[in-house]
């Protein structure tokens, strides 16, 4: 179950650049960078010495580099939303944060080359670029579709796109790509590109909607979920969601160690504020 051996380190901020609505942040993390796989995340203490925030914040690893001039690096894409992320994005180069990494499950890579579609919502695109590279290096064809409410909320850096055969954008307000939602274009992309597996990351509602589509086409859907996490390391049981196992039994699994990458078709979606009937121990 505990697949990664995580480490707690002092990570130095190397650079912090604003990109659209996000901050692209690069941290020097040393050798542990080599352990990170696409889908893994990091957990960072926020607010400094006299912070009133007692919990870490989780961020998907956008990219990890084993050896840069500054040693191993991890890169994050952070949206300044609340107190914690605003504090983080206000840091400057050479500031040091307390970081635990790598955490969680990673995207599964098929043993055979397959035709993969990567779907990202908002900053959910972050872990997909590293995944695209890896899939490409294994001979897969990779298509990508990214969506957000507005253009500034699509994170799609140039260098990230080099591994994808096609990139489709959607925005709710039409400021970039197709006006509409990701799920509007999904069937067409799946059909035209003869997609065999969908990888996704983004808001829970989007993941649920994607699952409806992939279930219909009966293709695999590996999604990285985002549940509120208190610890990120499996000890608090706050981040659970109901997932049906091979035995047909639905259990409340921890999205921080049994996830964030999960099989979309196994997740019992729409389970906020209720435990699905028949769940183990309900």
């Amino acid at each position: 179950m505990i697949s990664t051996r995580a480490a707690q380190i002092n990570a130095e901020l190397i650079s912090n650049k604003r990109v659209g609505s996000y901050h692209h942040m690069v941290f020097s993390v040393g050798d542990i960078a080599s352990q990170a796989k696409p889908g893994n995340f990091v957990a960072i203490s926020v607010g400094g010495e006299s912070s009133s925030m007692v919990l870490r914040r989780a961020f998907a690893i956008y990219r990890s580099t084993e050896r840069g001039v500054n040693g191993g690096l991890v890169e994050l894409v952070v949206a300044p939303q609340g107190q914690g992320s605003r504090w983080l994005t206000s840091l400057e180069a050479h500031d040091v944060v307390d970081m635990v990494l790598p955490l969680g499950t990673h995207f599964g890579i098929p043993t055979e080359p397959v035709r993969a579609l990567l779907v990202g919502g908002g900053y959910g695109s972050a872990p997909l670029f590293g995944l695209a590279e890896l899939l490409k290096s294994r001979g897969c064809r990779v298509d990508m579709v990214l969506g957000a409410s507005t253009a500034a909320k699509i994170y799609a850096p140039l260098e990230g796109k080099r591994s994808v055969s096609s990139l489709t954008l959607t925005t709710d307000d039409g400021t970039a790509g197709i006006a509409g939602q990701i799920t509007d274009v999904l069937p067409k992309l799946i059909e035209e590109n003869e997609i065999e597996i969908v990888y996704s990351c983004g808001p829970m509602g989007m993941l649920q909607a994607i699952t409806a589509v992939t279930d219909r086409y009966q293709i695999m859907h590996q999604c990285a979920v985002e549940e509120a996490m208190a610890c990120g390391i499996g000890v608090c049981m706050t981040c659970v969601l109901p997932v049906t196992g091979d035995d047909g039994v639905t259990r409340m699994l921890r999205s921080c160690i049994d996830g964030p990458v999960m099989d979309g078709s196994r997740v019992v979606w729409d389970s906020k504020r209720k435990i699905p009937e028949g769940t183990f121990g309900a």
């Binding site: 051996r5 707690q8 925030m53 007692v54 509120a228 208190a230 608090c236 504020r273």
Partner: protein
Amino acid sequence: MTFSFAADLAGAKLPNPILTASGCAGSGKELSQFFKLSEIGAVVTKSIMIKPRSGRATPRMAETPSGMLNSIGLQGPGVDYFLENDIPWLAANGARTIVSIAGETVEDYAVLARRMRNLPGVVGLEVNISCPNVENRGMVFSCHPETARAAIEAVRRNIGGELPIIAKLSPDVTDILGIAREVSNAGADGVALINTLLGMVIDTNLMLPKLAQKTGGLSGPAIRPVAVRAVYQVRAALPQLPILGMGGITNGRDAFEFILAGASAVSIGTATFGNPTAVIKVRDELSAILQERGFDSLSDAIGFAHREVQA
């Protein structure tokens, strides 16, 4: 003279007084990637119930100023799974284990106590009585002297042998001293102070209680003054009753506060969520502080804040 950091918690002999808090250390396995479990005084397990429990619906958590609310609802696989899997693993990994048990009826406590006999590596029992009594209008056991007594008596009668029994109390009562007295009379060898305070956060976007369960338990540094007060009060009134202190401990200075107030050992809960190695940090810092202050042993410092001083 060499400094002695050894702790005696109601009869449980531990190399140091730093424990995990129930429900805040998973099965132990998850933390063992960060440090060896044998390095701390003991691992306190999450509260074990007889049957598997799914726990509460999500959201189960809300961060609050210097604290958090949780309504996990005692999710767990039940006592059979626990005894088959967790206990052997903890023993094999050199952990001293204090098993926390929780019941919905007095009989549950009796049954669980019987199952706790002669387990490898288990050095004590924490009895979480901050659970609703399903037979008695859902009243929380530890909130009323009679139900608190009944649960602890059931454990005492059924545990057999030498295993220390530590009753874990809720702070949400008018008279925590009265409850402590009652559980002590009922056979508890010590008390764990404190469990979480009942709280609520309203999600101002949804305009609804943030937790699916509406209310949850408040923990973390925010509640530390309430916890220290409870420890001090119980120590003052019942100086012979050993106390496991907890509530918002994040560093050695915080732990020292509890020791001075009268705790024989301390548990670290919420701090572990913010810092996976919090228990090790607390252990090392507390040891250093005690030695800097010239204490020859942990036990010399226990309750030191109660001494009479000229104003």
